[in-house]
Symmetry: C2
């Protein structure tokens, strides 16, 4: 009865095309890339303005109706799955770059804009929107902000949070928080934007964003290095940071298991080193002068070859060769597909312990599941390692066991069970592996203060509230 009234009111508010309850729309909005489960939403709402989002939430708040905000549905943590017959609130009609301010070096953009569209608009004005990730063509900037997305350039530019100068968000009761500051320095009161960044839609719905932009570095240089040990990988990282400063834009590490799997996936892969070397590192520099940076990179590597016996290196001599070296790292997608039924875990470990962690993780998993196969690779400069575990005939029912085993190890090393993918629904039961009881209690205090009826993305991040 209540729902019928509410749907009528929403239909009236949003106009034709603004609310769908047909089979096709419901199916398209029932899950994300996590493939964790499916849940049919009550309906799919597609507001066009912040005002409509505000009025929609006010109506749902009055009715006690759960609402799950949705961006491009590219998340791996199930944070956008509309569990419990929630209303799916899609931002897909709130798109467009509103302004690029060349003096302030900022971009004002609506939350439903794809990351790729925002990147392209920045580049057309000679700027870099520093956020970048594989799903760029599908993911939306509102989702990137709500999940504090990581990606390929974190070592140089930081996470999404570091790119956000201001934002607009709508609270559970429909209150609009306009914190659209373009200011780099703004210490006037508590910082509200950080409540909404990375809280996965559980504290408010992000509707507009002011991103800071960076100068577009015109040059790119890439090297691939084979190391004899993970200790050498770390020693070289320390020296690379101090040799290159802000020019170091990637320091990606692939363990031998990754290299083997990459060669199986693609026999034509260009890889200049013997397959059995323990680690590969891809180093990327972005800067203002290509020739000079290449000379610096070559000098640096000559020093490393001398200091770290057994190290080998190649430096790309053209854009084509840069792409070829990146293609080894980019095999991750193909490896994931070939591994079959899979646990795909995204964790952070204090950098000094990453080598140990990887060894113990492999040992633990292969002892318990000898048929399974483990693959490791990661953004070592950020302490982020991706753990793939699976095989074509690995029973799906074993997945929670694999997750628990890895997260127990993460806890032992003081790491995070969610480096860049968030908690969502997939990891909410494991939050206590990485957060203390006092931290979780404070998160619940915030949730109750901002969303007392618990209508915003219920179950995400914190699990059931009572």
């Amino acid at each position: 009865m209540r729902d019928a009234n509410l749907l009528d009111e929403l239909r009236q508010l949003l106009g034709p095309g603004g609310l769908s309850a047909d089979r096709e729309a419901l199916t398209a909005h029932e899950t994300d890339w996590s493939n964790w489960g499916r849940s049919q939403p009550l309906a799919v709402a597609r507001p066009r303005t912040t005002e409509e989002v505000s009025r929609l939430l006010a109506l749902c708040h009055r009715a006690g109706q759960a609402v799950v905000p949705q961006g491009g549905l590219t998340g791996f943590a199930g944070g956008a799955i509309p569990a419990g017959e929630a209303l799916a609130l899609s931002l897909e009609r709130m798109t467009g770059v509103e302004e690029i301010d060349r003096d302030a070096a900022t971009m004002t953009v609506k939350a439903g804009t794809t990351l790729q569209a925002a990147q392209d608009a920045a580049e057309a004005e000679g700027f870099l929107l520093a956020l970048d990730l594989g799903a760029r063509g599908s993911c939306q900037v509102g989702g990137n902000v709500s999940t504090n997305a990581g990606g390929n350039r974190v070592i140089r530019y930081g996470m999404t949070r570091e790119q956000v100068l201001g934002l607009e968000a709508v609270l559970a009761d429909g209150t609009v928080i306009d914190a659209m500051s373009k200011l780099i320095k703004d210490n006037a009161g508590f910082s509200l934007k950080h409540l909404f960044i990375g809280s996965e839609g559980a504290l408010g719905v992000v509707t507009r964003i002011v991103f800071r932009l960076h100068a577009l570095p015109p040059s790119q240089n890439v090297a691939l290095v084979a190391c004899s040990s993970f200790d050498d990988v770390l020693a070289m990282l320390r020296r690379a940071r101090s040799a290159f400063g802000g020019r170091l834009t990637a320091y990606e590490t692939m363990w031998r298991v990754f290299i083997e799997a990459a060669h199986e996936a693609n026999a034509a892969l260009r890889d200049p080193f013997p397959r059995e070397r323990p680690c590969r590192v891809l180093i990327e520099l972005r800067g203002e002068d290509e020739v000079r940076d290449r000379g610096d990179l070559e000098d640096f590597l000559a020093g490393q070859l001398e200091a770290l016996p057994g190290t080998e290196a190649v430096v790309a001599q053209s854009g084509q060769e840069c792409r070829e070296l990146w293609s080894l790292r980019d095999s991750a997608g193909e490896i994931t597909r070939r591994l079959g039924n899979l646990a795909n875990l995204d964790v952070s470990i204090p950098i000094a312990h990453m080598g140990d962690f990887v060894e113990r993780c492999r040992e633990t998993l292969t002892r318990r599941w000898p048929a399974g196969r483990t693959v490791f690779f990661g953004h070592v400069g950020d302490g982020n390692v991706h753990v793939l575990f699976g095989s074509p005939d690995f029973p799906a029912g074993e997945k929670p066991g694999v997750e628990a085993a890895v997260y127990d190890l993460v806890q032992e090393y003081g790491g995070s069970i969610a480096a860049e993918h968030g908690i969502g629904r997939v990891k909410s039961a494991y939050l206590d592996r990485t957060r203390s009881a006092a931290e979780i209690a404070l998160m619940r205090t915030l949730k109750r203060a901002l969303d007392p009826k618990g209508i915003l993305n219920p179950g995400a991040v914190l699990g059931p509230m009572s």
Copy 2:
């Protein structure tokens, strides 16, 4: 009666030297550098450990006793003044660097450590703690974090917030929130650290911090440029950002009024340009190669002299000359002292409008107070301008009028009334010039959720709560 009991309990908890109520101690803790007012605290507590802070707050919470956290007392916003007979909670005995992790490039430090001591410890290990400000020898890192201090390197490295990977804070009821993550990527639940950064001790007491460290850039180059207009200052800023990327570490602008005041303050000042040029810009590059960076800077300026008629520039050829050029900018302290009774305002303005803002601000103030004198200078790359207004015989009673006039203009331009100095007690009555009613209401919701009895730094930031 209640207070007597509480003081006994606190004395017992903190041991000899842990609680002082003698005249000297009370006087030393009754104000800060804002010189806004004095208020004698109930007593001065000096805990040595987080556990003691926790038990102290639990006792005060039970008793409803107000507590004002104090660092080095160098704030300009009165945020550490123990109004209303609050207990002064000084962190001065919680000092020391606990660890520098060279692999993770992090530093773990207790809140009462001076910024200078933390900087020196980082530098001794070959790292840069990017936070820097004039009060470095007196201010404490806990205060820097609680106020989200800005300073000299924001254009390259961001505010204090950007340097904090993790922290430990104690809530009003004594609950310890241990969020001492060293991880760059950590998306496990709502971000709690940002609640405590920049909230001026009103939501919790910061007790320990994990800072991220940067590679120490070995080279420094400095140029001083005279520009014909503020439009030229902005045009050159855009080009400098794209020419130098991460090497641009300062872009400080001084208006003619500043230059005149600087010459009056110091006749021996080295300044190579005719005094009447409208603007000076100090450009600093930090990088890996001094000679090469100097060549880049000279090439860049040659281009600017051609593109922007009337521009003149000098490039320092030695460390000594770098210091000489900086001394012009560093005249700010001496100018402030000489101006006498003074309004010293710290605001942010969207960069494109800074030139206009300065003109209108001067006009407005000199029309109303023809006897007063206005001086402008700022971190233009960050949108931050400092407004000094005063004269030796300017009546102190006029100060609120000056503040209101400037903040009204800031509001008109969509700026912030607190760029880097915070709100504290000095600006709490003006918070509505820069934050909407909905934002202030949400801040109050947070305050009530985290500190329901209102014992933590009452009156700071939000003014009276009821």
